[in-house]
């Protein structure tokens, strides 16, 4: 019997390796990708505490199939060498309205509206637990790209409207796949807030205490309704009861409200996950006592312009301090063992996320804690531990490939893989051609100095200390260098074109690579490339200093 069970287990295992497809195909024959992608020689951050130097991992069907110092490479594998590069799990943001259209504001009427606009729902329009993100969701590839660039692979999104806002969904930011593949959980959580719905003009509640009283009454009524006591149908209370076992997320934008939310939860035996304000450091003892996990924005106040002493007089000490203290918030939460995740909500993910994160690290947040707040803690909070936020067998193949330590300002984020789909952000096979070169063309000697980022190098060319006009472009490892003639009386140009081998050819010895030299004749008032009349191709040597 035991043996039979074992065999069954093996079969189940085999099935779960690849599920059967059931979508008809009319534009060709069915194809099936059974390839593995194997990454080798990588520095793998399995989770915030575990590091594999020179490790390997394999990906198939969007999942990681194995990871370790050395793994078996299956026959049908594409092998990618990541020597010198680091691999991190992609980040997770638990608070967003990604892919959700802005809720429509109710039209204004005359005077306040006291009754609900809807029928068949709760008596208060601002209680909207039946709202489900998934029926409003449309993948927004432009917005997704911003998340990709910041390193995120999964977000929890919701309709940010109302006091009880309904269910959120967990969605992978996978480019080029169908919605069915992206949705990881269509009902991952239920959201609350202190703000009324914009879709109704119903007056009540007009205050924070009114909001809190309304939420309390909703809990009481939902419980009462669940026992079949109401004569009427209430779709809102039914939804509220259905959502009660989901992760409950309470959004707030100030410290006092965070503590108020927790107090409410305590009264009904609910532990909310709380969207914080970034000011948690101001009342850490109470924050810790709340036992909540916080979703903390990475928003830090800008410095004030205090050049005008008169205006500066209007600046409160509170505002000035906040600028000075807020970047240390995450460090203080971490030191006090308050669990938290990080959200890009309220900042520009593409522009400010990494610089603000590095700032938090400069203010004392450990890199491990920062990584945990972006990977394992949000995964655990949303019930996806071991599936998200780690590079582990069976987890989604959501990972980042970087040029080095993520927390280094100079580090480049090359690729963000989500569900095994590659999103290239920067070409990682780019050869770094920066350096100083001696350039000989037609017996003339130039000094070529290439500086800047590997992907966007800049050139400066000199001949006997006088500067030569130049323009450098470098794309797909093709270098294109345009030089103006050293003889300033002539309007001649020299164009050098070269394919730079990848990976980099730098070594101890002097290296050179081939270039085509094309001499251009007169440049008139027309685009350069059309001006080529005669070209002579010669080989030159560029010596690397």
């Amino acid at each position: 019997m035991k043996l039979k069970l074992l065999i069954l287990g093996v079969f189940l295992g085999a099935f779960s390796m690849q599920a059967q497809e059931y979508f008809p195909k009319n534009d060709g024959v069915k194809t099936r990708n059974t390839n593995y992608t194997v990454f080798k020689n990588a520095k793998i951050h399995v989770d915030p505490q575990t590091l594999i130097n020179n490790g390997m991992f394999a990906v198939k069907d969007g999942k990681i199939t194995s990871v370790g110092k050395s793994i078996n490479i299956p026959k049908n594998s594409i092998v990618i060498d990541l020597r010198g590069k680091e691999v991190y799990p992609s980040f997770i943001d638990l608070y967003s309205d990604f892919g959700i259209p802005k809720p429509k504001r109710a039209e204004g009427g005359n005077g306040p509206q006291y009754d609900a606009s809807r029928e068949g729902y709760y008596w208060n329009d601002h209680i909207r637990p039946e709202t489900d993100a998934v029926s409003h969701f449309n993948f927004d590839s432009k917005e997704a790209e911003k998340y990709h660039k910041a390193g995120f692979g999964v977000v929890n999104t919701h309709v940010p409207d109302g006091i009880v806002r309904g269910t959120g969904m967990l969605v992978a930011l996978t480019p080029e796949v169908s919605e069915g593949d992206r949705i990881l959980n269509d009902k991952s959580s239920q959201y609350f807030s202190f703000d009324k719905s914009v879709q109704s003009r119903q007056s009540y509640p007009t205050s924070i205490m009114g909001t809190m009283a309304l939420i309390r009454q909703t809990y009481l009524d939902a419980e009462w309704y669940s026992k079949g006591n109401a004569d009427n149908k209430d779709l809102a209370l039914e939804a509220f009861n259905n959502n009660k076992d989901l992760v409950q997320i309470f959004t707030s934008d100030n410290l006092l409200n965070e503590l108020r939310a927790d107090k409410l939860g305590d009264e009904f035996g609910v532990q909310y996950v709380i969207l914080g304000s970034g000011n948690e450091y101001q009342r850490l003892d109470k924050i810790k006592a709340s036992n909540a996990t916080y979703i903390v924005p990475l928003k830090f106040p800008e410095a004030y312009d205090v050049e005008d002493p008169y205006l500066t007089g209007y600046l409160s000490l509170e505002e000035m301090r906040e600028w000075n203290q807020a970047p240390a918030n995450l460090k203080m939460l971490s030191d006090n063992k308050v669990p938290f995740t990080i959200t890009t909500n309220s900042i520009d993910a593409e522009k400010d996320f990494k610089s603000n994160l590095i700032k938090a690290v400069e203010y004392g947040l450990s890199k491990e804690a920062a990584l945990a707040a972006l990977t394992t803690i949000p995964a655990k909070t949303i019930g996806q531990a071991d599936k998200l936020g780690v590079i582990k067998e069976g987890a989604w193949a959501n990972f980042l490939i970087t040029s080095g330590d993520y927390f280094d300002k100079e580090t480049t984020l090359y690729e963000n893989w989500i569900q095994g789909e590659k999103k290239v952000l920067e070409n990682m096979d780019i050869t770094n051609i920066t350096g100083k070169y001696d350039l000989k063309i037609n017996g003339k000697e130039y000094q070529l100095d290439i500086t800047g980022e590997a992907s966007k190098p800049k050139a400066e060319v000199k001949m006997e200390n006088s500067k030569i006009g130049s323009k450098l472009s470098f794309e797909d490892n093709w270098m294109n260098l345009l030089l103006s003639s050293p003889d300033t009386t002539k309007t001649e140009f020299i164009r050098l074109v070269a394919s730079v081998p990848a990976p980099a050819i730098r070594s101890q010895e002097k290296q050179y690579f081939q270039m085509e030299v094309k001499r251009l004749s007169r440049l008139q008032k027309r685009p350069i490339l059309k001006q080529i009349k005669k070209t002579r191709i010669r080989r030159i040597r560029i010596h690397l200093k």
Binding site: S207, M212, K227, L317
Partner: protein, 444 residues
């Protein structure tokens, strides 16, 4: 920069601790039968008033020489809107389900200013937007503590009612019931009738009983378990509310504002209601045209428990002077005038067994004044709550110096940041709101 509690100017880096203090040789205003005691010592131990007498032994307590100084109980403000994030729930004409304890803001600088004016306890009231307002928060002004730690736990529950212009919304075009003073009466009758019916249903104890937070609160009022303090101006409405209460067999505890109280003081006495009024603040709207500065004295003479309140964060910090005005208007004795901001409001809030006077065994909520407390020259030197000195005039001087230094340091850092090319934001002028009970929006 270190975090302070609260994290604004005048916040504490280290929260002050409870101290045992012997005030030596003070002029003690007891607010009790003993009256004002000259050259008397008061010993504070473990947050309580331990002994009052002559030549007391310090027994390890810190000795404060109070020669030429006046020691009083902390001032109690029966009507305040300080330390609140919100004042009115104006979405319904009855909001008995809301609780001001939910919206206490412990970071309001008004708390510290009140302490500097000798105030130690306030009743944070709901606003006057609705006939039936919200539940009160009775607070001890423990500057630096969190919202929940400000709440005066032993104080009984209260609720704010309101009458007059604000509730019938005649100052703006409303479409809400009630629109008239007759309608206001019907709101009360209607809700209390509902509450009676609710209670009957509740007592049946059926499985299908629906708990309603608003009705629960109203039932508490009917059963004398929650006290009503009602915003009131006009005599006809004062009479009306007392009659409604009598019809439902309970008492109104306090009329607040009560500017026409002098007209119906005998009826109020008969009903057993107290009064909490302004000294001489009127003429801000039609229904306060009949107010007179003799109001407090007249009601006091009739035998009503009278308190002077502020309804205003600025007036709150000089309530000693407000009380003093009744000495001029109506010839009230100094001791009685002083009682109007100490033991009388304590009685109105049913905490007179704990605070409001200097009596052995009471909580040590004390103020040491540099001068006669009814004088305009009087300033608190120390304000203490339960033996913790939350305001100290010398510490205040040091804090001012530290604040100047910290500002300079931060300005220096910001200028440096700007010179280093960091993006800056312009300074905008923000004016702090002056909060009264007619504020409908969220407190800024």
């Amino acid at each position: 920069m270190p975090v302070t509690y609260p994290n604004i100017a005048y916040g504490f880096k280290d929260k002050p601790k409870q101290e045992n203090i012997l005030f030596k040789n003070a002029t003690v205003w007891t607010s009790e039968e003993e009256g004002v005691l000259e050259n008397t010592d008061v010993l504070v131990k473990n947050g309580e008033i331990s002994r009052i007498g002559q030549d007391l032994n310090a027994g390890g307590a810190q000795v404060v020489d109070a020669t030429g100084k006046h020691l009083t109980a902390g001032i109690i403000d029966e009507h305040s809107h300080l330390a609140a994030s919100d004042i009115n729930e104006a979405g319904h004409n009855s909001s008995a389900e809301v609780n001001m304890e939910d919206v206490v803001d412990p970071t309001d600088i008004g708390i510290y200013r009140d302490l500097a004016g000798g105030v130690t306890t306030i009743q944070l009231l709901h606003g006057s937007a609705n006939p039936i307002g919200g539940r009160s928060a009775i607070l001890k002004l423990k500057w630096g503590e969190s919202a929940e730690d400000l709440i005066f736990e032993q104080a009984p529950p209260f609720i704010k009612f309101a009458l007059g212009e604000n509730v019938k919304q005649s100052n703006w075009s409303g479409n809400r019931f009630p629109q008239t003073r007759m309608g206001v009466e019907q709101v009360f009758v209607d809700y209390f009738s509902q509450a009676r019916a609710y209670e009957t249903e509740k007592n049946k104890g059926g499985e299908d009983f629906r708990k309603d937070l608003e009705m629960e609160t109203l039932v508490e009022i009917l059963n004398g378990e929650r006290f009503v303090t009602s915003h009131s101006y006009i005599q006809s409405e004062i009479n009306m509310l007392m009659k409604v209460a009598e019809q439902f067999d309970f008492n109104i505890n306090t009329f607040t504002h009560i500017l026409e109280g002098y007209k119906v003081a005998d009826k109020m006495k008969e009903h057993g209601v107290g009064a909490s009024t302004f000294s001489d603040w009127w003429a801000y709207k039609y229904e306060v045209n009949d107010a007179i500065p003799y109001n407090a004295s007249i009601m006091n003479d009739v035998g009503i428990t009278v308190a002077i309140n502020s309804d205003d964060g600025e007036m709150s910090r000089r309530l000693n002077q407000e009380a003093a005005k009744s000495v001029k208007y109506g010839g009230m004795s100094e001791e009685d005038a002083w009682k109007m901001v100490t033991i009388n409001p304590a009685k109105l809030l049913h905490v007179d067994d704990l605070v409001g006077s200097i009596k052995t065994g009471k909580q040590a909520d004390l103020v040491l004044w540099n001068n006669h407390p009814l004088s305009i020259y009087a300033k608190p030197e120390k304000t203490m709550i339960e033996g913790v000195v939350y305001f100290d005039i010398e510490r205040d001087e040091q804090m001012r110096k530290q604040i100047r230094e910290e500002r300079n340091q931060l300005i220096g850092q910001m200028l440096k940041a700007k010179n280093n090319g960091v993006k800056t934001q312009p300074v905008t002028k923000k004016e702090k709101q002056h909060v009264h009970c007619d504020l409908l929006e969220e407190v800024q």
